[in-house]
Amino acid sequence: MFDYETLKLIWWLLVGILLLGFAIMDGHDMGVGTLLPFVGKNDNERRVVINTVGPHWDGNQVWFITGGGAIFAAWPLVYATAFSGFYWAMLAVLWALFFRPVGFDYRSKIQNATWRSTWDWGLFVGGAVPPLIFGVAFGNLLQGVPFHFDNNLMSHYTGSFWQLLNPFALLAGVVSSAMITFHGANYLMHRTQGAVFERSRRAAFWSGMVMVASFLLAGVFIGDLPGFVITSTVDPAALPDPLAKTVVIQTGAWLGNFRAMPALWLVPTLAVVAGLIGIALGTLRKPLAAFVASALAMAGIIGTAGVALFPFIMPSISDPRSSLTVWDSVSSHLTLSLMFWATLIFMPLIIIYTSWAYKVMSGKVTEQFITANDKAAY
């Protein structure tokens, strides 16, 4: 149906869409987890906060699982190289996520203050750590990662965990954390009232501000970062072989795509404008519209990183020709095509039944609801 080159591009877009789906869906419940200990001051308030996402967090988390599966199927070299290279970062994400299923389900099954507060902080870790690490990982992708392939395409990572925590990567971590918190706060406003609503509103304002400011700051620095440029001729339809190309490092090269195609400046503009509009809408107590705005802002932020890197996915600072790109880290034509159709069939279904689930559970979660459903609610 589609030729190989088109499918490679489609999969770059699809991975982006899955990542965005993850940020919008799992992102809001991670934001809620991050805010839980701060916007809920007593047990009932915290149960209100938890039950806003209680019926949905599990379905939302599948965006993360499916994202992992899709990268495995479509970009096997990225799956292999990134997750083994970022070994401890990845384990930190997984271990943080362990707190969520058990935290949600077990917390309110026992009437004990220490038990409950322990799980509350567990849910905080499960909500706050993954977005921070994903941001830091993106910050490192933008600086190149120290890895190379041998002749059998076995990847060798030569960096350490600690060098991932450099200033620019930490700044990217702040952008990511702030945007997830902002998005979660907008959602919380939409589903709560009273004191929790007011605290969430303040949190939305400040996290939104931090998001916009740190994103702009990262934009200032990105021109000084080493960017990557392919210097050999690339045949986008060729069989993938990352070692077949030559790559040079040039300061400021990440702005190349924007310079070549000025319309792309709309992507970072979307991040800033939607972010500011979202902050305003939250202040005006229009949480649902603010939620849509924060989703758009995330599309702008993730899109900006994707566009800056394109066609690179995971550049290598220590052996630039080993860099992984949209053209040479993909799976076969047949697998890309098959997975495209599978996504085309299942994604709309997923969106339809997820929307139905939200519709069934819509409305404000109140303290009266918690008291009335003491045994059944989270």
Partner: protein
């Protein structure tokens, strides 16, 4: 690639997978038991059945939480710890994992939220549909995972490409309808149904022994006895072994499981018990049922099954041929236009995986000594004793479940089960046994595939990530510590709520609530 790194990576995978597999079978089976209970509720409109769905659903949720927790690891561990595997076979192996997410896991995880929280917001039929979709989702999940695993056991529908240096998909439907995968799926979900039936049966029997919530427990017992009876029969009849004789790839596993050192004239006998001696390559003694193995494994009386010695001998020849494939490939990787190397590679391509087996002993396979070749050939059949005994223990447990459910079903038809105290006691004692059988089954399937991660294609020792040993010790300790802690918490809650029984629902109708009222 040091031996320690490979061993630790394998240990970590085994630990995380076996922990995960403590929770999965109960989810698979209990979801359908909930469907049955809720179907009765929808048809009869009796609130006690709704309470049954809610109470067993509560225990389902406690178990499910850890299933999800330990499942997160599984989706990413191929990347973190098996990077070369992920590159080498991701083109095929990744697809079923991704489709599992989109087709099954989304379905299960979205509707389970409504299962717990939708009681007051959905009509009776809507809620029932939600429960059905959750069950279908969890079972479809198993289907896709076992299609992926089936492909590791029997890699159909794919071919090696020397340009991309990996296996590539050639026929998706061959992977989906792989007989090995289908046999595995049916066997594994049936085992899950048995697990859940024993769970519900045993806990209900305990209430009956205590004389608590008798009506609730009797109804639960009946449902579990009927469902368990059907499942226990299917787990035996559709045993995993039926798939083994079908294809070449499982014959080494079969021979090791059976302690069958020499080829046997068809139909082969089944060693009921034996004492395998790895050094002598023979059994010290054996108790044999004539014809049985031939019938089970080949479904025929004429097909011959190869013995371990014969398999090793055949594989030695394949390794010697595979050396040429590896050498040809190395030259092709340096110069893709080397036609002589291409001809050499193509002539021996089918034995490439066997040539790679030598890398464990001789990084440069061209320089492998006859002793190293003999050692690699010896490795192609895993150690006999662990497989032989695990398999027999699993089968014995399988038959004991069939007996338990035959009796339970019989007495529940007669209507006297609630007073048959010896049966109730046995039902309680049986509770932990399905978990042992499940783990043994997992061990037989995965250990039996060694030394391969993808049978005949990719040796396990080449599949790992290039990590340091220190990384592995750290992460392994972390996983064991974390999982054990969570398991303790899970068991604490499971026991607490199982003891509390339906009184935990807060309806005011059950034992402890009435006692305190």
């Amino acid at each position: 690639m040091t031996e320690t790194l490979v061993d630790l990576s394998r240990l970590q995978f085994a630990v995380t997978a076996m922990y995960h597999f403590l929770f999965v079978p109960l989810t698979l089976g209990l979801s359908f038991l909930l469907v049955i209970m809720e179907a009765i509720y929808v048809m009869t409109d009796k609130p006690i059945y709704k309470d049954m769905v809610k109470f067993w659903g509560k225990l389902f949720g406690i178990n499910f939480a850890l299933g999800v927790t330990t499942g997160i690891t599984m989706e990413f561990q191929f990347g973190t710890n098996w990077a070369y595997y992920s590159h080498y076979v991701g083109d095929i192996f990744g697809a079923p994992l991704a489709i599992e997410g989109m087709m099954a896991f989304f379905l299960e995880s979205t509707f389970i939220g409504l299962f717990f929280f939708g009681w007051d917001r959905l009509t009776k039929m809507q809620h029932f549909s939600v429960t059905v979709l959750t069950a279908i989702g969890s079972n479809l999940s198993a289907l896709w995972i076992l299609i992926a695993n089936g492909w590791m056991q029997d890699p159909v529908g794919s071919a090696f490409s020397y340009t991309t240096m990996r296996m590539e998909l050639t026929d998706f439907w061959a992977v989906v309808f792989n007989p090995t995968a289908q046999a595995k799926f049916v066997h594994t979900v049936s085992a899950g149904y048995v697990t859940a039936s024993v769970f519900v049966l045993g806990i209900s029997a305990w209430y009956l022994l205590k004389g608590r919530d008798v009506e609730f427990a009797k109804r639960s017992f009946r449902v579990a006895a009927a469902f368990g009876f059907a499942s226990a029969l299917s787990v035996i009849v559709l045993g995993d072994e039926s798939g083994y004789g079908v294809t070449e790839s499982q014959k080494s596993k079969l021979a090791a499981m059976e302690g069958m050192w020499e080829a046997e004239p068809a139909p082969a006998g089944f060693n009921l018990l034996a004492w395998p001696n790895e050094e002598k390559q023979a059994n010290e003694w054996e108790v044999k049922i004539p014809y049985a193995l031939g019938l089970i494994a080949t479904r025929s009386t004429s097909e011959e099954l190869p013995g371990i010695k014969e398999i090793r001998e055949t594989n030695k020849a394949r390794i010697e041929s595979g050396i040429h494939a590896v050498l040809g490939l190395e030259r092709l990787r340096k110069n893709a236009n080397d036609n002589e190397a291409k001809a050499l590679f193509e002539a021996h391509q089918d034995d490439l995986g066997y040539g790679l087996l030598l890398k464990r002993y001789a990084p440069n396979v061209g320089e492998a000594t006859p002793a190293q070749i003999a050692q690699a050939a010896h490795d192609t059949v895993p150690k006999v004793a662990p497989l032989f005994w695990s398999f027999r223990a699993m089968v014995a447990l399988g038959f004991s479940f069939a007996l338990l459910f035959t009796l339970s079903f019989w007495y529940s038809l007669k209507g006297t089960f609630a007073d048959t105290r010896w049966l109730l006691r046995w039902a309680v004692l049986f509770i932990p046994l399905p978990w042992i059988a499940n783990e043994l089954g997992w061990f037989v399937a995965e250990y039996g595939r060694q030394p391969w991660s993808i049978f005949g294609v990719l040796p396990t020792h080449l599949s790992v990530s290039t990590l340091s040993i220190g990384n592995l010790y750290g992460s392994l300790a972390g996983f064991i510590g974390f999982y054990t802690l969570l398991l303790v918490v899970e068991l604490y809650l499971m026991f607490k709520f199982a003891r509390l029984g339906p009184s935990s629902l807060g309806t005011g109708k059950y034992h402890f609530e009435r006692a305190s009222a």
